[in-house]
Subunit: 335 residues, 3 copies
């Protein structure tokens, strides 16, 4: 598989510079691993030093970076997006072919489109429905009454709990648990009485869920992950949470029960939020932050507990200087 | 399945107000999703605005809230507990029936009570013993010599390691790992030498463990989770930890090895503790706290490192004001 | 199985004190659980009070601790290491015997050494290669083209993704995911476009990975875990991370994509790091720290964001005293 530099430029809407459009490219590599048959890209200034040393046959680069460079380039508005388009050209998603591993246990009442793939040891429960083009990985467990849309990809050992719903083109990485019971008990006076968790989890179209991430089913009513949401690995989503479309979360985030996030939010790794709060559209929350209450839309936040990010930057610069301040104030009797 | 409002009141020890005891109720829904055939409940002030708008046929409510309301109500001491009792009426736990999926691999030397259910692809090892009424979900792995009590429920893909012990009515959510090796090495001078982890994990009666949570076996001796403990998802319990009865932990908590928690502790999400420490009975530890040393019983703590919660509330209010203080002090030459 | 106290002393390079070398010892127990037939050890001062009360037949102890004790002792330079050697004597690693459970699904094109064990329900994909002495646990999934070295031990339900590589003597605890997709998307203007993650994960010799830990495959190029690295449970390693030889991480750490750690680093639980940073050789980072940028080799760090540990100790002592300081300064008009 190969593509000419000219075709790449066309595909990524870029402009050639110092490059022969007929040279063929066999794949994409990072700047330091690329050979002459590879394209590469510069999207992060941190890797600028690798730019001039790279052996890449052509480099996707922004319109302004290294204006005097004389090596083969494709100038684009967004090199990372251009790289993405090119990588997707070289690695198109595999198509389902209707292959069913003989060891899979598919309940007779389950309804699978003809072209659905089912891996070894997968378990598909009663009345589950799986639409066209979906691939179910090895050792997945799809419980009774679950519905899975078209063109989904479930990696090994994903669990889709009873009656949970996946839209189209949903991706579950290995070990994902969709539809575990929410954490709900009432103290009876002598024990924690379990509250039956009878809602569902609904993942809309184009959602991707990272490895070993857990999404609890609603206590009553559903936990809802809207379209285009991307969650990284080892994330916890509590019962009855709602996550707005196109929000993204880095790994190990925890969202407590009944909290609502707006659309297009971005949460760094290890963020935690209280339950029963509202986080507005487009909020950006820095890694490790703790969110105890509602956040206004469009803000950028950081800290435990969160404050505006610009304030946190100042606070975090002051923290290591507190001992010096303390010492001087103590000398004046202020401790 | 339905129940009259009068029967509900009796079941939850409540008092009818503006309600016809003969009206029948088909289920429980949240205030905003309930229709006239549903009961609902108000247990959190945050949802007060939904109270008057709700279409619910009857609402479980505290004795004092909305004293002038004229809609059908059942007044109770604890609406959340009343809702729990009602929800358990509508959703009784399914009974085991002795169903064994033909794909399950049950070792000939394992001893299962006649009515134990075993799901598809489950693996039950040599000399494992499983008592009456227990249901083993799809793709669970019960290793050799494990003992599982009566009336347990293991969701899909739970692992119960070699020789580990579950009491009665234990619930494991999907992906739980009971009995992974503890993290123990000694530096030999040239490598980390693994210490064989040969203890067990013992879960007493009525323990519930959340999805993908991991509990390490003791290095020597056991890791012990006492009766009625409830752990949320993605929690880490190190080797030789002891957790006292009825303690609860929200998701993503990490308890380091050989730490002891008392009875009735409550830990918020993402709390972490050092190893080899003692946390007294009834401690409450706020989300995201870091616990470096022993904690006295009965305290409420927060912060990294933890301090009394009332102090932390003041500290956290001061943090975002530090830049202003710093600026004024700097003007006086105090930086 | 038993060993004489004299043989123990020889094995751990220790000196007998008040002990009869011919007395036989049947195993190792903690100080408070040991009976006369057991050896025990004192390696942590916290357990000193258990020393005199212990019934142990002999105790491994440092050369200086309890100089006046008259009970049977073996004096050693490092009691923890001595205990480790003794424990490994009593619990040698089980050898593989070539046992293949009849339910395992091994692709005809996979190449397994004759003595490789394969547990029930395990899935081994096309062209996978597994070397001599390796044991594959129940319900593991080894995807196509994966290579696994000699003498490895994969506990139940571990996943080794497509084309990933394990060196020799690698241990994966239950639920580990090696080779999940990295978290990589480019915003197209209307959606998060998934970047195909086509690199591998490479684990070198003597690596151990804890339960339910996830290691993402490289986007392009590999994620590399060098020899002797030990990772605890529920850790997240992002794509294209490199971890230097003999580094260790406690549970729930998160390392963001493209970050490089040097050799011999030690990270406490719940540490998080930014992506694309360099952490030098031998860094020690305290539990719960947040690392936003590069760290110099050999340092000891703590805090969010990290600062030198000695500074953090002062800062953390001042934090709970801030309210008092604030009050006094406020009285002078400094708020």
């Amino acid at each position: 598989m190969s593509i000419s530099i000219g075709e790449i430029a066309e595909r990524v809407n870029g402009t050639l510079q110092h490059a022969n459009p007929d040279v063929r490219i066999a794949g994409v590599e990072s700047l330091d691993h690329a050979e002459t048959e590879h394209a590469s890209f510069l999207a992060n200034k941190k890797y600028s030093s690798a730019f001039s040393k790279s052996k890449a046959g052509v480099i996707l680069i922004s319109e302004k970076a290294f204006p005097d460079a004389t090596r083969p380039l494709i100038r684009v508005a967004d090199p990372y997006l251009a790289f993405t388009h090119l990588q997707r050209y070289f690695y198109p998603q595999a198509a389902a072919s209707g292959e069913r591993h003989p060891t899979a246990a598919i309940d007779a009442s389950a309804e699978l489109a003809d072209d659905v793939d089912v891996g070894a040891m997968a378990v598909i429960g009663a009345h589950a429905r799986i639409a066209s083009g979906t691939r179910i990985g090895a050792a997945c467990v799809i419980e009774e009454d679950a519905h899975i849309g078209e063109g989904c990809l479930l990696h090994a050992r994903a669990v889709v709990g009873k009656a949970c719903v996946l839209g189209d083109r949903v991706i579950l990485q290995a070990g994902v648990v969709i539809g575990s019971d929410g954490f709900g008990y009432a103290w009876s006076g002598s024990e924690h009485l379990k509250i039956p968790q009878v809602g569902r989890v609904v993942l809309q179209d184009d959602v991707e869920i990272g490895a070993n991430t857990c999404i609890d089913r609603g206590a009553i009513g559903d936990t809802l992950i809207e379209r285009g949401v991307k969650l990284d690995n080892l994330i916890q989503i509590g019962h009855n949470v709602q996550i707005g479309a196109f929000s993204v979360m880095a790994s190990q985030v925890g969202i407590s029960g009944s909290t609502t996030l707006g659309q297009g939010c971005q949460l760094g790794g290890q963020v935690g939020t209280a339950g029963h709060i509202n986080i507005g559209d487009g909020c950006k929350i820095a890694a490790k932050s703790g969110v105890p209450g509602d956040l206004e839309a469009g803000g950028t936040y950081a800290g435990i507990p969160v404050m505006p990010h610009r304030v946190w930057l100042k606070v975090s610069a002051i923290l290591p200087r507190l001992p010096g301040l303390w010492k001087r104030l103590s000398a004046l009797g202020f401790k």
